[in-house]
Subunit: 354 residues, 2 copies
DNA sequence: ATCTTTTGATAAATCGCTTTATCAGATGGT
DNA sequence: ACCATCTGATAAAGCGATTTATCAAAAGAT
């Protein structure tokens, strides 16, 4: 029983001091004048004065219960909310989300997916929406439970994803990064350095972000009139990638590698080093996006920067729009695609003359 | 109006299906059997079955309003909650807090102090306690508004500080780190290396953490029968510290420096380098605590590690105790002091023979 | 048999706020 | 003068829980 309800002024106090009914105060304070009821200028003034004098602020719990807005935004990650391992990856999103939320006067309710016992703790915990208390939610991370997201959609609960997300009805709102365009730029950069045969070292992931990157790589090839051959693609995890594979690529005439993520990029460099190859000299390398591994970027390779902080902010902005939208029947999702920043590194050089 | 109240089962549903009153269900679900009312084993069983079947979970807002517990913990920092600058400093606390909260089944409500317009956004915003919604709060960071904390105390709102905090009545609960003992160890380490005259380079801070460190430095000297002379202490910010001062210390016979924080430590090394001194050879250096500066530790100096994550966890544990304590009149604060870990570095060598 | 105690459970008030439905009085048209 | 409209505001019914006070039936005591 926290907070002895002591001296906190309540709606009733304001009403009494302003000599009006609670209903009137509520209407005025929520800007519902003219909608739910009519209130004269004079009365409004009087109410606001009392509010200021008392320092009245509505109790969020009561507000929520009564169907009002709680000025709370939920942030749901499908991992632990403060992942130690992916600290460098998630932190900027969170910073962006928090900044914008704060700007808009919202507080953040953090909800995590996994509890220590490895039991899933989900959005729908025991069937009840844990996000309920909040006005809306920002979803973050690689969700492992699409079903929950769909249910959320069905329930018309307002939420925005950070990162592009697909769904059967294509109606998920999100603030994403334009990996397609970013990948195109990377490939073009390699083309500009006269690389003809580029091997694409990809993950096995079927995540949207993964597919977008691949789409970009393919698109750039097509635009060049040089479609990406199937045998130039390798898929797997970093420790599955072996030197033989790289050697095979080189023998096929490959002069540059594109790694989908930094784990693969590191692996390539590691294998190459073992074989005595030097990076920009014997082969070029580009990586699709800044690192998600534990450490700070060790190599200054050619890559692009994901606008994580901006994505966080944008997601909150979209959510705000969604919430203020009075057209409750709107079907169109709210979306933004933010550009990535090309980062030239020292891992790309001109292809050797044939 | 988030979440169409649609299909979420409510207390009434459970009651109806179990053929009991709402009151009984509430009593059972909150473990108040025998306290508020008596309920037979059979009935309890029946209720739990319905609850499981329906997947019923209480609405946090309603729970809060009715005076129950919301299973939400507020985390209030007196800075932005995701400070970019002090990322390395704050993150571990947050991780610890979140871990333990999750373990206990609590969610986290993040509240920050400062909004973008530099207007203070405080615990008591407009006189209303923003923490209200939560069952209790963890307070974090260097508070600039002692008054708020005192008001919180008066209101008997349950909260625990991360880091030792003093107050007029000495009744603040906290999970702190034992800087005194840690500082003692550092000084003894220097003594063991035959350093007799040690200069203490301190901040101007009057924070508890700052005073504890100084207390430790003094204590170790006294235990050695060699009280710390006033003229061996320097106070100021890193950029106020000049080479002359260090030179003066050296001429007084100082063979080792203790820097209160890493900013001062870095400054000493920087000045020394300019003067052509080498660190372990010409003087020894120890730093009281791991870095709070932006970058990862650049130097492997002798210092101690603050158990930040553990402090976060412990703070939550203390808060849990506080909340479960039914003796509402308890006056004694809940406290823990966690030990720091001594980290030997390469910045301490034996003092030159006199 | 009668009175007291224990057991098991409920009715109803509350928490603080939102919203729907309703209403009295002022205004206006004819 | 009379009916229709507009204005300004309120009463009251929730929202989904918790908790206090109360009560009937069963068990125990004498």
């Amino acid at each position: 029983m926290p907070v002895p309800k002591k001296s906190q002024p309540k709606l009733a106090d304001v009403a009494r001091l302003a000599s009006v009914s609670e209903a009137t105060v509520s209407v005025v304070l929520n800007g519902r004048v003219g909608k739910h009821a009519r209130v004269s200028e004079a009365t409004q003034e009087r109410i606001w004065n009392v509010v200021r004098e008392l320092g009245y602020v509505a109790d969020p719990a009561a507000k929520t219960l009564a169907g009002g807005s709680s000025m709370i935004l939920a942030v749901f990650t499908f991992e632990t909310i403060f992942p130690i391992e992916h600290r460098n990856f998630y932190y900027p999103f969170l910073v962006g989300i928090e900044q914008e939320a704060r700007t808009q006067g919202y507080d953040l309710l953090l909800l995590t997916s996994i509890n220590q016992a490895q039991m899933g703790r989900h959005i729908y915990q025991n069937g009840r929406n844990r996000l309920q208390l909040a006005d809306g939610a920002i979803l973050l991370g690689a969700e492992n439970n699409k079903q929950e997201v769909l249910t959320l959609l069905e329930d018309r609960y307002p939420f925005v994803f950070v990162g592009r997300r697909e769904s059967p009805n294509d109606n998920i709102s999100y603030a994403g990064a334009d990996y397609v365009q970013a990948a195109v730029e990377i490939v073009n950069h390699l083309f500009d350095h006269h690389h003809q045969k580029i091997a694409y070292i990809a993950t096995m992931n079927i995540k949207e972000s993964s597919r977008d990157r691949e789409a970009g790589v393919r698109l750039a090839h097509q635009q060049k009139g040089n479609p990406l051959a199937a045998n130039l693609i390798w898929r797997g995890t970093a420790d599955q990638l072996m030197l033989e594979k790289l050697t095979a690529f080189m023998q096929m005439g490959v002069t540059a590698f594109i790694a989908e993520d930094d784990l693969l990029g590191n692996r390539i460099l590691q294998l190459a080093e073992g074989a005595g190859w030097q990076c920009p000299r014997d082969f070029s390398l580009a990586v699709l996006g800044d690192p998600l591994s534990l450490s700070e970027p060790a190599h200054t390779w050619t890559t692009f920067k994901i606008p994580r902080q901006a994505m966080g902010r944008e997601a909150v902005r979209l959510l705000m729009q969604m919430l203020s939208e009075n057209d409750r029947e709107r079907e169109a999702p709210y979306r933004s695609m933010l550009p990535c920043t090309f980062v030239p590194g020292i891992s790309v050089a001109n292809a050797p003359n044939p």
